[in-house]
Subunit: 317 residues, 4 copies
Amino acid sequence: MPDRDLPTILVNITQELDALPIEQRGPVADYIPALARVSPEHFGLAVVLADGSVHVAGDANVPFSIQSVSKVFMLTMALQKHGDDVWKRVGREPSGSAFNSIVQLETEHGIPRNPFINAGAIVVSDMVLNGGDPRSAIGDVLRFVRDLAGDETISIDNEVANSEAVTGFRNTALANYMKSFGNMGREVEGALKLYFHQCALSLTCRQLALAGRYLMLDGQHPTSGKAIVDVAVARRINALMLLCGHYDGSGEFAYRVGIPGKSGVGGGILAIVPGKASIAVWSPGLNARGNSLLGTKALEMLAEETGWSVFMPGAGL
Amino acid sequence: MPDRDLPTILVNITQELDALPIEQRGPVADYIPALARVSPEHFGLAVVLADGSVHVAGDANVPFSIQSVSKVFMLTMALQKHGDDVWKRVGREPSGSAFNSIVQLETEHGIPRNPFINAGAIVVSDMVLNGGDPRSAIGDVLRFVRDLAGDETISIDNEVANSEAVTGFRNTALANYMKSFGNMGREVEGALKLYFHQCALSLTCRQLALAGRYLMLDGQHPTSGKAIVDVAVARRINALMLLCGHYDGSGEFAYRVGIPGKSGVGGGILAIVPGKASIAVWSPGLNARGNSLLGTKALEMLAEETGWSVFMPGAGL
Amino acid sequence: MPDRDLPTILVNITQELDALPIEQRGPVADYIPALARVSPEHFGLAVVLADGSVHVAGDANVPFSIQSVSKVFMLTMALQKHGDDVWKRVGREPSGSAFNSIVQLETEHGIPRNPFINAGAIVVSDMVLNGGDPRSAIGDVLRFVRDLAGDETISIDNEVANSEAVTGFRNTALANYMKSFGNMGREVEGALKLYFHQCALSLTCRQLALAGRYLMLDGQHPTSGKAIVDVAVARRINALMLLCGHYDGSGEFAYRVGIPGKSGVGGGILAIVPGKASIAVWSPGLNARGNSLLGTKALEMLAEETGWSVFMPGAGL
Amino acid sequence: MPDRDLPTILVNITQELDALPIEQRGPVADYIPALARVSPEHFGLAVVLADGSVHVAGDANVPFSIQSVSKVFMLTMALQKHGDDVWKRVGREPSGSAFNSIVQLETEHGIPRNPFINAGAIVVSDMVLNGGDPRSAIGDVLRFVRDLAGDETISIDNEVANSEAVTGFRNTALANYMKSFGNMGREVEGALKLYFHQCALSLTCRQLALAGRYLMLDGQHPTSGKAIVDVAVARRINALMLLCGHYDGSGEFAYRVGIPGKSGVGGGILAIVPGKASIAVWSPGLNARGNSLLGTKALEMLAEETGWSVFMPGAGL
């Protein structure tokens, strides 16, 4: 793809998808009021290339609740803090079941399948919390994401965080269940508080694509050049995103789009083309698997137009 | 990686792994006599590069039973014959369970999760059979693999095929179970016969790496240049291998090795670096997930030495 | 209950239920043609008391396919032949799942939960077959049921038996699956043939109630007085019927009716009041659990009118 | 059985079982300290006959934690308060899985299988609590059990109750999980507090057998003669005990013993012979299913010696 065409590609995708009637955009998440009242008509797209250039289209500057996309940043923090010990408490296999399933935990003795299903992310939160104060850990997370994006205005939506806490009985169940197997710290409340707040991180597509640059850059901080994580670790986070980033629709996404991505129930997706691009897309309507319907379509179109795919010849050496 | 070092890398890997005592090589599959009597001391490795050069080490010219690696070639044939209709009868998601699990079939009404678990491969065999004569279909499969490898000496081990048929009660159960949901053709016996024979394909590492070239080359036949399958289809087969190629150890393999691969219970693995390499490795001892123990290690070492990974920056554009 | 009222009670129940429109009678089993064409308008009821008197109402002399009710007679034969060794190959616990579920077999290594789900009954057939000739074993079963009922006209409906064999892919799957765990004899075909034929036993309500007398009489043959099975074994068969006789509706039946019973998908139920009555009821329409809708209602009404319940004070000493 | 022999039978059973070495008594529950330190050498037995006579042997006057046996009394209270509405929130089928399994809740949308597994008992506690004050409800439960037993000295062991609360993460998980399906009241804490306290009821065998009299007497209060519950309800509670009273060992218990019973992890079992006897047995060592090892044996011996069985001819009319 000639890079100069990217803006045209983004505009074309946005126009085509924006023309879709509301019935073809999927239902928005409605389990908390703050998500339920978001209009399904939003569509935003942002691409940051390896040269640092930023390309946006649609509602790329409207903040939204990134929800489970935050699990990527939390996993990164846990790996910074605990290294490979992370994998003693959470697995690396696709789950083959829904994002909030509790069944697998019973047969596998409280060890969640991977860090991108809810149970796994709660364990990761517990590792980031590390026995400390939840308020302080929430501050750490916010600073980490702001630093990745280079944007001090990123914030947490407290209404969303509080709604999650009030209605999150299934997540509370998951945490207590893992605790019964000895796979949670002393107090599950702190880890859950952190978990509910990370889900409430509010970013625009532009901010999210900027925050994802280190995964495009083999783990390097985009401006300082320091290692956020090692090269090997960055590639492995991308591998996990490809295999487990869309819950029980991960195979479909890998098959159709072919690049690592992580979705959230707020309708956002962060997708990484190693060495090429960090992409954020947002449309609140969801498909049957709980992933953004138009967001997935947009990434499929973008991959087709650009040829971006981790399975494209040309990597390496 | 400077290409000229590849032979040295292969020799080093082979020497290091060949030095391992038998206790560290894993048990060989023992469910049929012909597999049980294979020595765990074998280790072979073959790499075909995009320039056509072939590099081998160890027992790369000893034939072995490729078993489930054949599922890649069968899927390719089914996609040639039926296109996207294949996906009406088999899914594209990681299974999250063992290679021969029947549980998922019950909850998902006879549609196997993906073409690389046994149930999925039996459905794929039924599609390749397409209501025809099993003996004739077995001939087609043999001709297809010989053509891919450019080697007319490749054969099927009839002792293995017959042993599979005699002891394959679980596969017979899977086939009849899917039939009860209407997801098998008129006679399950024919599809099972084809399935048992494809598993009994006997190739050397050299032959297997040669047979895998079309997946390195975006679907092109390595000598004629004709499309075995479309570019998009080839990439998608690679995506499926990455997500589902090692049963319940697929996440682990993607995490550690980072390239698409398909393992077989005979101890073989075919791995593809798009645009770069088609790799075959063989060591009969298995890990707890039923994948070659030393084979997996060898690929991990090779990936680390060469930098080969689909998550390595450098793909595309 | 004064015994002289029983005929009146039976007539009242029959009249009340016969008045129900077809929409309230449940759908008939339709997986084989011979069952699908039975009219849902049939309703028959027969009660044999301990004094040998026989009381009937409705279509009590119309033969029907007893299907899974035959599992009671087969279990009795297996216990005669193998004693407690039966329980090495099949459990005694309620299954908590549907009659033809294969899931439990995977987690419990090929040992079916109880002899009244399909998998369990196939193992029991294998034990009755005992490595012998299926045709001869089918003759033994027929003679056994004829002798219990004292009626040489009882027969097997070969059309039903053959239909079962042709469409019974799930049962073939169950048999092969158990075989893969070593829990079936040399040839699964023979056991399946016996199983399909036992299901095709054709009895009237009168004949079925007569055949069940030994379970009312603590194991004694109703005319010769010889022990069909020991006292303890007879009580235990009744216990199994109470706990597992209605698949995933066994708890509901025990709760509402309170007497041991075994249902079949042909719409028949055999129910036993120890020391008091052997009851057969038939109405082909089924409820959501696969048990006769009106048959269950009839037994609930009968139990209420007569006070028959194993939980009624008055047993023992 | 001539009633005058009962004392001899009880003494014989007690002597035979008391002679067993500690290795044959099963491990005691060790998940909370107060249970872990109970000696496995205890064995007590009490039988109250319909004539009001009380017969005891062994440690029949030593109080123990009745744990899940309390679920019978709680179900009775819930049925008094809510009648058949109880069954809108909890099922009546055997569970086919362990006492604290969460798997079934996921597939059946938060409705526990029956009131005698933990999840079901927590819902029942929520119904007894009925939105009220936990301390007051705990008082009601204590008064109810004292009144049934006619013994004002019965108490709750607060050390046990508090230990349960501290270590009961799995029960907290179950409660929150059901809450996520809308099957718990406003605050799960209150229902859990009540649940943990009911489990900590401390009774002797004598007191427990006395408390169970109403189930022997078709629901009548043993002294006042008033209906605790209707005749039909009492019989149905007994039916539920027979089908579900021993978790995943209920079938085995019904098969071997043949009378309704409810076990607790403290090693107690309450067993009811309708119209004949209310029996309590206690021995802290457990079998693999979590039921008292010697307690089950004692009841099997007692049933054999007395002929007590709900499947014994002689019931009804």
